[in-house]
């Protein structure tokens, strides 16, 4: 078996046993990246020198029996995580020259566990998009079929793990940006409970919704990586103080008797036949694993999309104000005064999807509209969250399709924002309620993968990973990879 075909867990075992070194593994990935990524465009920056340095240090630690928990595993970071002395662009022209002077907590935590950083992955500009077509650094292609999109906004992370150009990757999810690309690229992706992973150094899109997580080949690999990323961070006031359990400890336990809820509002939607049948098949698999299936109701869940498209743009309109050309990042040529500096820097530095959302958000917060839009959206958000609280009184996890279909062709939805926004119809509710969600592969249609989603109650990542892992023990979808 080739090194890239091994899972993260298998690679870790190989390194521990001395079957291969981290330098060999890292060089192997770097070669694959230089051979295959020109076409896929999943990386914005490849940090080859840094990776080889880290790999060499890791090999030394193995030799002196001082290995760290994730020592020598080559991963990629979404280019939204600030990485000291490395270009951190957030997929935008605005930060196309920005070398971060500090590292995010996620990057620091994983580095202190011994990972090797292969590079920074492509993404929709400022994480706004569902197809990875809004990146200033060009679109990312879906490794399963290069005419198709990998999903977004963590499209680069998804494509690079799917094409086996990294063992796993970090990602972020504001409305589905981990789970939707996981589904479209045939990966396992988990967005933990809001506050589980520190947002410090993770460039903000919508602060109350953004959450860091993982894109990996399996629930097991996700569990390993997520555990190292999670935990309280005094630098993030919204970070949770709760202890992080060992996600691997319970992963092998049976899920016999688990109660799975199916929200009727999701299944009443007009979905393609292949989505329905794959989802039904997944439900059957769970029944065979001993799950109890219950129909539940989330009466206000239909409010999610409109609510999200008020709150996320409102927060982003303020979060993106700092990109003004004054201190760092892109600055327009020869500004004639401060007004001109602001206007042209932002006009030239931001792409059209970002501008659209900044404008929507600015409008929604304006005097005279605030009550009708922002305030009302916050109240509706509470209703959606309450629906979930009520549902979790009777079920353990909630199952639905991750997306309304398999991937779509590049350019197919890029001129129709509403059609694009509907991609996230099943994933957004978990962000509004701050709940953990996981997507994993459950089928394939016309050569493109399809995902199923589980949403859990607050802090129930272990249960989601366990349920996904048990599914993956009896299915083979997660072991299928595209030929690139």
């Amino acid at each position: 078996m080739k090194l890239h075909e091994l899972s993260l867990k298998e690679q870790l075992n190989g390194l521990i046993e001395g079957s291969f070194s981290s330098t060999e593994l890292t060089e192997h990935y770097l070669n694959r990246i230089s051979n295959l990524d020109k076409d896929l465009n999943s990386y914005i920056t490849v940090t080859a020198d840094l990776a080889l340095q880290q790999a060499a240090l890791s090999d030394e630690r193995y030799k002196s029996s001082k290995a760290l928990p994730l020592d020598g595993i080559p991963i990629a970071h979404k280019d939204i995580f600030c990485t000291e002395d490395v270009l951190t662009t957030c997929g935008s022209k605005m930060l196309s020259n920005f070398k971060a002077p500090y590292s995010s907590t996620v990057v620091n935590k994983l580095s202190s566990e011994g990972v090797v950083i292969l590079g920074k992955t492509n993404m929709d500009e400022f994480a706004m998009g569902s197809s990875n077509e809004t990146s200033f650094f060009g679109p990312v292609k879906n490794p399963w079929n290069k005419e198709y999109v990998p999903g977004g906004s963590s499209g680069g992370s998804a494509a690079c793990v799917s094409a086996q150009l990294a063992s796993a990757a970090t990602a972020t999810d504001t409305g589905g940006s981990i789970r939707q690309p996981a589904a479209l690229c045939g990966l396992t992706g988990i967005k933990p409970t809001y506050g589980r992973v520190s947002r410090y150094g993770m460039i903000a899109f919508a602060s109350s919704l953004d959450q860091g997580g993982v894109l990996a080949r399996s629930a097991e690999d996700s569990a390993i990586l997520l555990e190292s990323m999670s935990g309280h961070d005094p630098k993030d006031s919204t970070s949770l103080k709760e202890e992080v359990p060992s996600f691997l400890d319970s992963i092998d336990s049976s899920i016999n008797g688990i109660k799975i809820g199916l929200p009727k509002e999701f299944f009443e939607r007009d979905l393609p036949e292949y989505v329905e049948s794959s989802t039904k098949e997944a439900i059957e698999t769970y029944k065979n694993l001993g799950a109890e299936i219950h129909e539940i109701s989330l009466p206000n869940v239909d409010l999610s999309l409109p609510v999200y498209y008020i709150i996320a743009p409102a927060e982003c309109s303020a979060n993106l104000s700092r990109y003004d050309g004054v201190r760092y990042g892109y600055r327009c040529e020869d500004p004639k005064d401060i007004e001109d500096l602001y206007m042209r820097t932002r006009e030239e530095g931001f792409g059209s999807e970002v501008k659209r959302r900044v404008l929507i958000g600015t409008y929604a917060l304006s005097a005279g509209y605030y009550d009708a839009y922002y305030l009302k959206a916050q109240k509706c958000r509470r209703l959606v969250a309450n629906d979930f609280s009520k549902a979790f009184e009777s079920v353990d996890v909630i199952l639905s399709p991750t997306t309304p279909g398999t991937s779509f062709k590049s350019g197919e939805k890029s001129n129709d924002p509403i059609e694009m926004y509907l991609q996230d119809i099943f994933t957004i509710p978990a962000n509004l309620a701050g709940l953990p969600g996981i997507s994993f592969p459950c089928g394939n249609h016309d050569g493109l993968p399809l995902g199923v989603q589980l949403v859990g109650n607050s802090l129930q990542e272990a249960k989601l990973l366990q349920a996904a892992h048990q599914f993956q023990k009896v299915t083979d979808w997660h072991n299928k990879f595209p030929e690139v």
């Binding site: 919204t238 993106l320 104000s321 700092r322 004054v326």
Partner: protein, 482 residues
């Protein structure tokens, strides 16, 4: 109530920004020291780098609770933060973290003393926490501007009054009272020149007796007590004359120009119309436990009003003296040390507000930098009281103490200034003076009583001012009769 042109009255509300004296900033660990080289006290958070997040400095909560209690106000719990959005080069995030719906302090009041001796209650609407912006530097950059972010993120508390103030004098009394409170609480140095206390004035005028409020203007950039008074006075007169000449008042923000003593409208570019406030998602609402508030409240020092009342009761001082001494914490402490040392409160108050203030003013020093310590001044007064020196000599001694820094007893000793209280010595001098001035003696004896003063003067001169004047009087009277 001050009446202008007999038929107008002014309605004034103040917004006072107080810089809180914390070691580090409101949401970052950077230092808040004043006067460092530009941009040496701005960390990643103050620079608003991508990805950074604010973390609340809890010291600030304690300071705000103290202020709230001193202003007889409610402390909101939970209290929450909001973003105030506007673009300006010295505002790195493009928004200021402030408070909107749940300010930490709400609904208080302050009783101020007016010149006629009466007091007036001024409502305090709220006091909220917010971060300061940096500074734009427009000189020495050859047509460009520089930005200094050292001040960016420094904690401020903005105290908003009700429009209960009716004259520039009342405004100053209120402002001074707030100044005194923040200094007492040691939450700020209140230095207006350095900008650690800043004041914006909302001013409108209306016909006397009218219930409706006129259109108001907000005057900014007033950085001394005197300028606040002048700016408000100017604005009242401007508004009255505008209305009387048939114009209307525009609701606007104006800048005070202290050189010309006028206000002018700010260009609209200098402020935003719509700040698009919304709850700060990076900070959770802060819950202040009752026990936390109680502990702070119990730990608060004596406040100016309490101190004033105690001075009247304990030291027997007049209302005026007590009020003046209690207005400044350092002054009050100085006074108490002097009074305890001298055992004469009245004389202590007189000396502090007389000779000492005069010297301080001359050299533009504050009480903490007095060249004569409270203890030494107390001893000086004690030496007057125990008749070691006369009151007149005491003034010379004080000047010597001020200029040389020497101690009182050393000066008396060295200069031989000890008062002559030996009766026989005084008698000798009196006899000598009478003998040397037979002409004046004749006139005195023939009824010119005024000449008594002449003899006293001569004896004092003879003693080089060291004779005890009352003893001189007594002995002279006796001898002249002989």
């Amino acid at each position: 109530m001050t009446i202008y042109n007999e038929s107008w009255e002014a309605v004034i509300g103040l917004e006072i920004h107080v810089q809180l004296a914390t070691n580090s900033k409101l949401f970052s660990g950077a230092s808040t020291n004043f006067g460092a080289l530009p941009n040496t006290q701005a960390c990643n958070i103050d620079l608003a780098l991508p990805g950074v997040l604010p973390v609340l400095n809890e010291e600030v909560l304690k300071m705000a609770v103290k202020l709230g209690k001193a202003l007889n106000a409610n402390i909101n719990s939970p209290t929450s933060f909001a973003r105030k959005n506007y673009f300006y080069p010295d505002l790195p995030k493009g928004y200021q973290i402030s408070q909107m719906d749940k300010p930490i302090v709400e609904g208080g009041f302050l009783d101020i003393e007016l010149e006629d001796g009466t007091s007036k209650r001024i409502g305090v609407t709220r006091a909220h926490l917010e971060e300061d912006a940096g500074k734009s530097l427009h000189e020495d950059f050859e047509g460009q501007s520089g930005i200094d972010l050292n001040r960016s993120g420094t904690p401020l508390i903005e105290i908003v009054s009700e429009p209960d103030i009716s004259s520039p004098k009342e405004a100053i009394a209120y402002l001074k009272s707030i100044h005194s409170i923040i200094r007492y609480l040691e939450i700020s140095d209140g230095n207006m020149a350095e900008g650690s206390m800043r004041c914006d004035a909302n001013v409108s005028v209306r016909k006397l007796g009218s219930k409706e409020l006129g259109t108001r203007t907000e005057t900014k950039n007033v950085n001394s007590f005197r300028f606040v008074e002048k700016a408000i006075q100017y604005e009242i007169e401007r508004q009255i004359s505008e209305i009387e000449s048939g114009n209307t008042i525009t609701q606007e923000t104006r800048l005070y120009d202290s050189q010309a003593n006028t206000t002018r409208p700010m260009r609209t570019k200098e402020y935003a119309n719509d700040y698009r406030y919304f709850p700060e998602p990076d900070l959770l609402p802060v819950v202040l436990e009752d026990s936390f508030i109680k502990e702070i409240h119990e730990d608060m020092p004596e406040m100016p009003t309490e101190k004033k009342l105690r001075f009247i009761k304990e030291y027997g001082l007049s209302e005026y003296d007590s009020s003046l001494l209690a207005s400044d914490k350092d002054l009050a402490n100085f006074f108490e040390t002097v009074a305890d040392e001298s055992k004469s409160a009245k004389l202590s108050a007189n000396w502090i507000m007389g000779e000492l203030s005069a010297e301080l003013n001359k050299e533009n020093l504050n009480i903490l930098n007095s060249k004569v310590s409270a203890k030494q001044l107390g001893l000086l007064i004690k030496r007057i009281e125990d008749s070691t020196i006369s009151g007149k000599i005491a003034k010379d001694v004080f000047e010597k103490m001020w200029s040389t820094g020497n101690e009182i007893d050393a000066i008396i000793e060295k200069e031989g200034l000890q008062q002559v209280t030996d009766l026989s010595e005084i008698e000798t001098m009196v006899s000598k003076v009478i003998n040397e001035n037979p002409g004046q003696l004749q006139q005195y004896l023939s009824g010119k009583d005024r000449l008594f003063g002449f003899f006293v003067g001569q004896v004092m001169k003879e003693s080089q001012g060291k004779a005890n004047p009352s003893q001189v009087n007594e002995i002279l009277k006796k001898k002249l009769k002989e």
